[in-house]
């Protein structure tokens, strides 16, 4: 028998106030108790908007126009306020910090049932059950600020569970978390999925984490129309090409299998997790030899189609390491220790010795609180380092004046808006040159060139805050580079962004790096690191565990020592019994290609 659906959407279209068209459009589906539904689609297709409609925030709290009907436990969402609908649907949002409103973990979990006028005993009983499920009961008296990112997001899930609603809607719950936090959150979600007591609707880009707990996928296309609604594993396996064509991200293991299929290695069925990929590879008697880490084939988890880079005349990629070792380092740090918050603040970076050669693409990795950002900021002179401990292209960055520094180092903060200082895009770019004392003609030419380079030429007179997210990011990189800085430092450039935007940015960084710009990034997305970085520095507790070529670091023990997890591809290949040559395969570009590939 079929239980009555908890959620029922009938031809739902939503148009945000001022938006030219509706996204999503004409979406109909129903969700029953016990289902775990993954909602997928390229960015801008209206997934998040759709989740807001599931508990009546659209149209009641968000200025948007709703067509069609959303029924929550049989109630028309248009006719019932959010307060009533929230008895049936609980929400978890992306940013854990924007969901916390009280001063202790216990008060936070009690907040919703108190609003629902449950009796005191009931409030406490629900709070205890929810906190025990997410593993925070022992920390109930603490201020939520003291929890880690993963802990705060688990708290947000507990808060949603305490509402005793049968439907749980999660909108990218792990986008702002580091890998450890993502694992914590998915451990909780897996438990919920196993209980089959709730219906779960999940929007998630990180499919590697999500794929083994969901049982149904709903896919929207770029227009916001529902194009696929089917069982998860079969959909990923049988319609993988279709999903890729839609601009939807697949699990890294599936992408890798698709790449291998193009190279003549057929894995059937397509693997969805690193374990499945590993098992499938091991089952094959023969595998073609993987490419070396420095092969000119370009392919990443973000853009898996292989492309070939042609060695340029200036910086031949293939023997770059030979020329690099001869060059003077771009960054040289010796015995670098950094305190946060002045002389008496805690030491967050301990005695780091680090050389970064010109032309490197260095990724600094580590868990939250390992001191990655502090290290990057002190290397770039944003945070003062002790005199003489850092040398960047001949200057001490913390003591040089802004002009000298801007000529050598471009620093890009996590949120591009923080760095904008002018009222037009053109002025924003010109400012860096004006600081150098360039004359107007020179400024104009350079600004024009930069606008073209980053595809912003139409937007010269636009206010920087009115750009789209990707444009803002490009502009912030442009402002960092316009004074001719040969070194670019970026703090968590992909944090909280969807994969399309992350891919755009990283491809841009790679292009700059190919032209000779030294790039240093702080990140905790290790598959990105594996695919893009030439070198990796691993930090733990403010100390540098080691630094080396990306392939060596990823193949060695440092990643685990730092409390990080190997990227998905490395996890699949490390355990291969029959193909030892594949143990060092950590990046998409190492997968074999047919001779015909490379378009």
């Amino acid at each position: 028998m079929h239980p009555a659906p908890l959620l029922e959407l009938d031809r739902v279209s939503i148009r945000h106030e001022g938006a030219p068209r509706s996204t999503p459009v004409d979406v109909s589906f129903a969700v029953a108790r016990g289902e775990v539904v993954l909602l997928l689609g390229p960015s801008g297709c209206g997934k998040s908007t759709l989740t807001l409609a599931l508990d009546g925030l659209v149209p009641h709290a968000v200025p948007a126009e709703l067509d069609g009907t959303v029924r929550v436990a049989g109630l028309d969402s248009r006719e019932h306020p959010v307060g009533v609908l929230s008895e049936h649907v609980a929400m978890v949002f992306q940013d854990p910090d924007a969901q916390i409103v009280t001063g202790t973990v216990l008060d936070e979990v009690c907040f919703a049932p108190e609003n629902q006028q449950a009796s005191v005993d009931e409030v406490l009983a629900r709070a205890e059950r929810a906190l025990k499920l997410v593993g925070l009961w022992d920390r109930r008296r603490e201020n939520p600020d003291r929890l880690s990112g993963g802990g705060r997001q688990r708290l947000a899930i507990a808060c949603a569970l305490a509402m005793a609603a049968p439907v749980l809607v999660l909108d990218e719950p792990t986008a702002n978390l580091d890998p450890a936090g993502i694992d914590e959150v998915y451990a909780v979600l897996r438990e919920l999925a196993d209980e089959r007591d709730h219906a779960v609707v999940l929007v998630e880009h990180n499919l590697d984490a999500a794929v083994d707990i969901v049982d149904r996928v709903i896919v929207l296309d770029a227009e916001g129309r529902l194009v696929i609604d089917g069982p998860a594993r079969e959909t990923f396996r049988e319609r993988a090409d279709e999903l890729v064509a839609l601009g939807v991200w697949l699990p890294v293991s599936t992408l890798a299998a698709l790449r291998l299929r193009d190279a003549g290695v057929h894995l059937d069925p397509l693997p969805l997790t690193p374990a499945e990929l590993g098992a499938a590879l091991d089952a094959l008697p023969v595998l073609p030899a993987p490419l070396s880490a420095s092969s000119p084939v370009r392919s990443t988890a973000l853009s898996p189609r292989p492309t070939l880079t042609w060695p340029g005349p200036v910086d031949p990629v293939t023997d770059a390491s030979a020329t690099r070792s001869a060059q003077a380092p771009a960054i040289r740090a010796r015995g670098l220790s950094v305190r946060r918050g002045g002389r008496l603040g805690p030491v967050v970076v301990h005695e780091v010795d680090l050389d970064v050669a010109s032309g490197d693409f260095l990724a600094i990795v580590g868990t939250n609180g390992a001191g990655k950002t502090s290290l990057l900021q002190s290397l770039a002179g944003v945070l003062p380092a002790p005199a003489g401990s850092v040398d960047v292209l001949g200057i001490d960055p913390a003591r040089a004046d802004a002009r000298e520094r801007a000529r050598r180092i471009g620093f890009v903060f996590q949120n591009p808006e923080h760095q904008f200082i002018a009222s037009t895009v053109g002025e924003e770019l010109a400012q860096g040159l004006r600081l150098q004392g360039a004359d107007d003609d020179a400024i104009n030419t350079a600004v024009d060139r930069m606008l073209r380079r980053f595809g912003l030429d139409e937007l010269r007179e636009q206010h920087p805050f009115l750009l789209s997210g990707g444009q803002k990011r490009r502009l912030s990189v442009g402002t960092a580079l316009i004074a001719g800085a040969p070194l670019l430092a970026l703090d968590e450039p992909t944090f909280g962004q969807d994969r399309a935007r992350a891919s755009e940015l990283l491809d841009m960084l790679r292009a700059l790096n190919d032209e000779g710009t030294t790039v240093v990034v702080v990140t905790h997305d290790l598959q990105l690191v594996a695919d893009y970085a030439s070198h990796i520095a691993v930090l733990a507790d403010g100390r540098l565990l080691g630094v080396g070529e990306a392939a060596d670091v990823l193949a060695g023990p440092l990643i685990e020592q730092a409390g990080l997890r190997h990227p998905a591809l490395a996890r699949a290949t490390r355990g291969l019994e029959h193909h030892p040559a594949w143990h060092s395969v950590t990046r998409m570009s190492q997968l074999p290609v047919t001779s015909g590939a490379g378009t």
Binding site: G83, D97, T102, R146, R340, G369
Partner: protein, 300 residues
Amino acid sequence: MSAAPASAGAPAGSGDVPGDAGTGASVAVAVDPFAPRTRAGRGGFLAALNPLAKLAAPVPVMILVVFSRGIALPLAIAAFAMVVLLAGTRLPGRAVVALLLGAPAAALLLGVTFGIWVDPATVAGSAEASVALFSVGDWTFTLAAYLVGLATALRIVAILLLSLIAGVTSTGPDLVRAMVQNLRVPYRIGYTALAALRFVPRFGHELEIIRAAHRVRGTDAGRGPIASVRRLIGYAVPLLASAIRHAERVALAMDARAFGAHPTRTERHLSPWRARDTVFVAAFLVVSALIAWWALGWGR
């Protein structure tokens, strides 16, 4: 500089905040309206009172102190507030010492700094004006000037101590609960204000990042008031943009959790106004009035 008495109410062990060490933990600690009650907040008769009583009693006295003159009244009130604090709370030993030594030391020291600003001509007539404490060149620091400075300093210390009566034993949420339950302040306003308080440390941290980001762009080059005003406007735009976005998200999250769905909400902690609260307020005001009457009669 006179932070000693105030430190009694600050949370202990603020250094061990987990998470990214760079994310402004220090700022968060400086203004944390949700700071857990210190041990001091758990014992003593003050903790058992309604937070509103602890506010209603000292506030009229504070106003009286603001408009008082001379040394006797603020001194006597400060001593009274100190007695209430020490008797009504179980402060840890260090805080008691800080209170007993810090408050007088702060008053004496502040007296000098305020006294320096006193125009010698205004106190020239009195007997104390002829007692020189020390002199630098032509300028002499007289006892009369010091007494004027000391009176100001004592008023500040007395007000600080009075505010500690409310501050040491109740937290922000306690006060909001009491206002909602006893003063019929709508809970939507009370709890929204409380949620908004969480924004403060966040914005402090955000401002720090924005300043660093602008420094990197080289916008701190100019000097003088015009450049600094321009800088402030430059900080305000990104700060406001992110504040509005954050506020919208918090509002959605609160709506989604049924905030405001019903005219009332369950209160796990009742905060009734009991007879002892009335007694405390009345007794506090009567004793203060007696002190004032005695101090003014003796002081003039």
